[in-house]
Amino acid sequence: MSDNGKPVNSKNNILNIFVFTEGFLVLSLQIFISVVLTPYWGQTYYYWVYSLFLSMLGLGIGYFLTPILLQKTGGALPLLKKIGTYLVLYFSITVAFSLVILNSFLDLFTNPLNGAIFSLILFFFIPTLLLAMIPMTLIAHLKQDEKAGEGESSGRIFSMSAAGGIAGVFLVTYIILPYMGLTAVVVLLIAGFSFLYLIIAKTVGMKSAKWIPVVVAAFCLLVYASQQKSHTKKLASHLKIVYETDGILGSLTVLENSLTQKRQLLVNNNIQSEAHFTGRSMNPYVYSVAMYTSYLPKGSNVLIAGLGCGSLAYEYGELGYKVDVVDIDQRLDDIVQEHFLVSKNAYNFKHSDARRYFKSSDKKYDAIVLDISHGENIPTNVYTLEGFREVKNDLSEDGLLLVHFLAGQTDDGKMALASVIHTMEEAGLDVEIMDFLNRRELFNDAKWGGKAEGFILAGKKRKVDLERKQLVIDPSLLAEMHPNKDSLYLSFSQRPTPQLLTDDRPILDLFHSETAMKFRMLSIALFKEAYKHE
C-alpha cells in the first residue's frame, strides 16, 4: 500500500497507461502534423529543420515551465487536471477549424516557409509543449506521493513514454494512415487526448463537469468532418478528384480536368505529371527523352527511376524496349494502370529507392533515366559522387544516362545544376545539357521570368555524339524544341564554381530549396484557383 492508502500495483498500472498514452500522442501528433501540413507548405530542407527545431523547443520549454507551474497551481494533480483539459480542448478546436485556418494562411503568407512555421506553432508546438509537462508533473507527483527519487522516476516514466511512442509510430504509419486515412488519425488523436483527460479526471477524483471537455471534443470531430465535406464541394465544376490517398510518403491525388481533357498526378498538391485522357503524356520532356534514346535497337534494356504517371514507360514500350521501373511509392504502380491507362505489360515495376536498387543490382542497362527531380523533394542520396558511380556501373559500355532536372533562375538554382554536372563528370561521365523547350541557352530567356527551368542532362560512359546517332525524330517536334537545329545541346554560360556532392556532404536539397519554394508557390496558386467559390 502507498502513503495514501491506494494499492501500489493499481497506481503503477494507471501511471504506466498514462505515460504510455502521452508518448503515443506525442509521436502520433508529429506524424499527423507532417501529413496535414505537407500538401499546403511542401517539404523543403528548411521545413525539415524548422519542424525538428519547433518539436524540440516545445519539449524543452514544457520541461522548464513545469516547476514554475507546479508552484502556481499548488501541486502535481491540479496541474495535471489543467494540462489534460487544455490539451483536449485546444487540440479538438484547432483541428475542427484546421481547414479554415490553413486556407486563410494560404492567403496570409506569400512565403510558404512562413506559413509552415506559423502552422507548426499553432498545430504542433503548443500541444507538444503541453504534452511535455506531463512526464515532469508525474515525476513531481511520485516525489510528493511516494517519496520516490527523481532519477529513478524519470527513468521509469521516460521509458514508458518512449514505448508509447513506438506504438504511435507503428499504428499511425503502418495501419491507420494507409488503410483508414487521415480522418481516422484525427479520430484516434481526439480519442487519445480525451482518454488522457479522463484518466486525469479519475486520478484527481473529479465528479462534476468531467464529461464536458469530452463532449466538446466529440462535437469538434463532427465540425471537422463537415468542414472536410463542404471543402470537397467547393472544387471547380470542371475538375474532379478521381483518386485520393494519404500516406507518410505524401498525399497522392489524380485530378481530372474536363476542359483540357487531361489528368494530373499530384503529390502533396504539387503537379508531378500529366497526361491526356487517351493516356499520352502532355509533357514535352517525355517525348524528348524517348527521342534521345531512340537510336537503341528493339529489345534494349532500359531503367526508369521514377514512374510518375507512366508516360515514359509507355513510350519506351512503344519503341520495343525491355523497361524496368524503380519507384519508392508502391501506390503509383496501381494508379498508372487504372487512371493513366498504361498497361502493366509495358514495364516491370520494382518497389525500391533508386540508390538502393543501383547498389544491389548487377543488371546492365543500355539507358537509365533518372526522372526523380520533378517537384520539391530532391533525392540527395542519388545525386552524389558515389551515387553516380553506382549508376555508371549499371550502364552498359555504350550506355546513356539521362537526368531530368529542374533548376530555378537563381544563384542557388544555377549552383544546383553546376554541382550536379560537376559531380557527374567527377564520376567519369561525359555530360551534355539537352533541351526540350525551345531554347538556345539556359537561364538566358526573359520569357521564363524567374521560374524554374527544366532540361535533360545526358551522361555518357564513352564520348558518344547523340547528334550523329540515328534518332527516331518527329520533325515537327524537333522544330518545336530547337530553334538552333544545328545542335541538340544547350549552353550554360552563367555557370558558377560548382561544389562536389558526396555522401558525406549531400547538400543538393539545400541548393534546391528556392526551386522547391517556387514549385510550392505555383501549387498554392493552382490550389486556390481550383477551390475558389463559383
Binding site: 524543452g60 529513478e152 521509469r156 513506438i166 507503428f170 529507392d353 533508386a354 538502393r356
Partner: protein
C-alpha cells in the same frame, strides 16, 4: 548551485546534443544504403525510441543499484565517443543487411548502432538527474532542468547542424566534433563523486 550541479548540467547538455546528432546523422547514412523509403524512416524512429525506452529503464534501475554511478557515466560517454569517431566507417554494417527486406534490414542495422549509442546516452539521463537532485539544494523539480538542458541542446544541434555544420563541413566532421565533446564529458565525470 553546487559544482556537481554545474557539471551535471554540462553532461546533460552535451549528451542531449549527441543524442540529437545521432538522430540526424544515422538516417542520412542509412539513406545511402536503404534509400529514402517509409520503412527506413520508421526503422530509424522505432530504433531510436526502442533504444531510449530500454536505456531510460536501465538508467532508472541503476540509480538505485549501482555502486559507482560515475563509472557508468564515463563508460557510456566513452562508448559513444568511439561510436561517433567510427560512424562514417560503418558501411560494413549496412552492407551486411542490404540483401534483406528493406524494413527489417534497416531496422536491424539501425539497432546495431542505436542500442549502444542512444541506448547508453539514455542510461545517463536518470543518473545525472540523481546526482543533480542529491547534490544541489532546494526542493524544485531537478529532472526538469536536466531534461530541459538536454532538450535545448538538441534545439541548438538542429540549428547548427542543419544550417551550417552538415552543409558546410559534412557528416564526418560533425560526428568527429561530437566524439570530441563526448570525450570532454568522460573527463568531466571524474570530477563527480563516485556515487550521488
Amino acid at each position: 548551485m553546487s559544482r556537481v550541479g554545474y557539471i551535471a548540467l554540462v553532461l546533460a547538455f552535451i549528451g542531449g546534443g549527441a543524442l540529437m546528432m545521432m538522430e540526424i546523422i544515422l538516417p542520412k547514412i542509412s539513406m545511402i544504403w536503404f534509400g529514402n523509403l517509409l520503412e527506413v524512416w520508421s526503422a530509424m524512429l522505432i530504433g531510436a525510441l526502442l533504444a531510449m525506452a530500454i536505456g531510460y529503464r536501465i538508467g532508472g534501475i541503476l540509480v538505485k543499484k549501482s555502486r559507482s554511478s560515475r563509472t557508468i557515466l564515463a563508460a557510456c560517454y566513452l562508448l559513444n565517443a568511439i561510436i561517433f569517431f567510427s560512424l562514417p566507417h560503418f558501411d560494413g554494417i549496412f552492407e551486411f543487411f542490404l540483401g534483406m527486406n528493406t524494413g527489417l534490414g534497416s531496422l536491424l542495422a539501425a539497432l546495431i548502432v542505436l542500442l549502444p549509442s542512444i541506448g547508453t546516452l539514455a542510461i545517463t539521463s536518470p543518473i545525472i538527474v540523481d546526482y543533480f537532485e542529491k547534490q544541489s539544494e532546494g526542493t524544485n523539480l531537478k529532472a526538469s532542468l536536466i531534461f530541459g538542458a538536454s532538450t535545448f541542446s538538441g534545439v541548438f544541434v538542429i540549428l547548427i547542424s542543419g544550417l551550417y555544420l552538415l552543409p558546410q563541413l559534412g557528416i564526418s566532421f560533425a560526428s568527429t566534433l561530437i566524439a570530441v565533446m563526448l570525450l570532454l564529458n568522460v573527463l568531466l565525470t571524474f570530477l563527480l563523486p563516485k556515487k550521488a
